[in-house]
């Protein structure tokens, strides 16, 4: 796919100092379209979808909100904390209004691993398949999200009990 003028404008919004101090691209010098295609291929390889990953992130955040700012147990073996800091961030894609600075930390107790994401990440992944550029402070790796959050793959979804 080719980088469209609209994508070029969106990529400008992602640069440091435009919407956020450090931007969304990190040290990644690729065109936005290449970043999106790279992560889309990775998500296909894992056997899931951007939507499924974002839905899982959102589900765990919603469960974690019950902890009122402290870690809370979420079935089957997660600990989740949802915290907020003052302020909000507009989406670089310009389509989500102002997104609050809500942070979710998920600990997978079986794997002994932890991952941290924001509401901006959920929007960018679910609505645009954008995991941020390489080296960005808030870059999410699709395979890490899938592993730690235990996102169901398409294969698991079709393996229904007989």
């Amino acid at each position: 796919m080719k980088q469209t003028p609209q994508m070029k404008k969106i990529q400008e919004n992602m640069r440091p100092g435009v919407l956020t101090l450090r931007g969304f691209l990190g040290a990644d010098t690729r065109d936005l379209v290449e970043i999106l295609e790279g992560d889309a291929a990775e998500v296909r390889r894992i056997g899931t979808t951007h939507r499924a990953i974002a839905d899982r992130m959102r589900y765990l955040r919603d469960q974690g909100m019950r902890g009122l700012g402290e870690f809370i147990d979420v079935e089957p073996h997660f600990e989740v904390r949802v915290d907020s800091v003052r302020g909000g961030i507009p989406s670089p894609f310009g389509d989500a209004g102002l997104i609050r600075k809500t942070n979710t930390t998920v600990r997978n107790k079986v794997l002994g691993r932890e991952i941290f994401y924001t509401d901006v990440n959920i929007h960018l992944i679910g609505d645009h398949g954008f995991y941020e550029g390489r080296g960005s402070l808030f870059r999410m790796e699709p395979h890490e999200l899938a592993e730690i959050l235990e996102v169901e793959t398409e294969q698991q979804q079709t393996e229904l009990p007989g």
Binding site: T20, L21, G69, F71, V82, D83, R86, G88
Partner: protein
């Protein structure tokens, strides 16, 4: 035919983009807006050089407008009423402005450039806000992810503030930022002591300021802050006080309690503090000391998930459940809450269900 059309569209787009780029470059380099006058609240006049955002120009003149993001347009706090000279609303302001704001000529001062004479209105109390140089006299762990930062003032040497107010701490350039960044933190200390302040700062993963405080700042370092800001303070009434907080939401409540102790308050007050386990609890001894000094004050820490080793004998459950269990009725009660928006919203529901009027519930929402 199609290729000719595509070439035409491409040419027009290219010329438009080029002209837009030229305008941006010209605005940044060639444009000289000269000397302009800013009239504040109809009487105070500032003669300044035009061309920069209003927030920065006011800061250079010693007038500090609250801003938790340091002028990035990502907190929406630096709203100012501009009655003349502002021009059209900017796309970067619009996400933060309600229809009422727009009708009242409220603008986001970090985004609005001063290009000609301007008339603005700001609350009088902002004239008392100052920038302070201070030194870190102590930095200690309160929990595994909350630090207490004590600052001795250097210049000016004293600060006058109300318990419950906040300051904006400046993080200088370091690994995570190539320019100074400001973030807002409530003061946790006794405001009668004007020569020093204390802050309680919880580490936010990837947070620019909290990472700096937790991992880079050392005792003896100089640090800049400005303040005080905010209208979260104790109302002078005879009603019972219900305080509710969790995590670093402890800060403004502690400051209010210390000042109540100074004044020998006899008001009935209960403080519900939520944590997950004992490793997240802090300053319990300090709160027990305050129970000794304040005859009608009770501290009620509650753990939502105590570990077996905690041997916890106090209240258990989410803080909302514990408040619901302890608060018999909302009659003659006012409440002060500090925490995340989710925690505040859940507590407001519990309190109003008990009959506390919503207008008597005061809160400092982090979100």
């Amino acid at each position: 035919m199609v290729s000719a059309l595509l070439i035409s569209v491409g040419a027009v787009s290219g010329i438009s983009a080029f002209l837009a780029l030229l305008m941006v470059i010209a605005d940044a380099t060639i444009a000289n807006y000269g000397d302009v006058k800013i009239t504040i609240n109809g009487d105070k006049e500032l003669d300044v050089k035009g061309g920069k955002p209003l927030l920065g120009i006011l800061m250079e003149e010693g007038i500090f407008i609250p801003s938790a993001c340091g002028g990035r347009g990502s907190c929406g706090l630096c709203k100012v009423r501009v009655t003349e000279g502002a021009g059209q609303f900017l796309p970067t302001e619009l996400p933060w402005l309600t229809e009422e704001d727009k009708a009242a000529n409220i603008r986001l001062s970090c985004q609005l450039k001063v290009k000609n004479d301007m008339f603005i209105e700001i609350p009088e109390e902002l004239f008392n806000v100052r920038q302070f140089r201070s030194r870190v006299s102590s930095l200690r762990d309160l929990t595994h992810d909350i630090k207490e930062l004590r600052l001795e003032l250097i210049d000016p040497a004293e600060i006058e503030m109300l318990p419950g107010q906040f300051v904006q701490l400046q993080t200088p350039e370091y690994e995570l930022t190539d320019e100074p960044v400001y973030r807002a933190y409530s003061v946790s200390s006794d405001t009668k002591d004007r020569r020093r302040i204390e802050l309680e700062i919880r580490l936010v993963p990837n947070g620019i300021c909290t990472t700096y405080v937790h991992n880079y700042l050392k005792e003896g370092d100089e640090i800049i802050f400005n303040g005080p800001y905010g209208d979260f303070h104790l109302r002078e009434t005879e009603r019972e006080i219900i305080f509710i907080a969790g995590g670093s939401g402890m800060a403004p409540i502690k400051s209010i309690l210390l000042n109540m102790a100074d004044e020998g308050s006899t008001r009935r007050a209960r403080y519900f503090f939520g944590a997950r386990s004992t490793r997240d609890l802090f300053l319990v001894d300090k709160m027990r000391e305050l129970e000794e000094k304040l005859p009608n004050f009770t501290f009620i820490p509650a753990l939502s998930n105590p570990e077996p080793d905690d041997n916890w004998k106090g209240a258990t459950g989410l803080i909302t459940d514990v408040v619901a269990d302890h608060l018999e009725s909302g009659d003659n009660v006012e409440a002060y809450l500090c925490g995340s928006p989710g925690m505040i919203d859940a507590c407001i529901k519990v309190l109003t269900d008990k009959g506390v009027p919503e207008e008597l519930i005061y809160y400092d929402k982090f979100g």
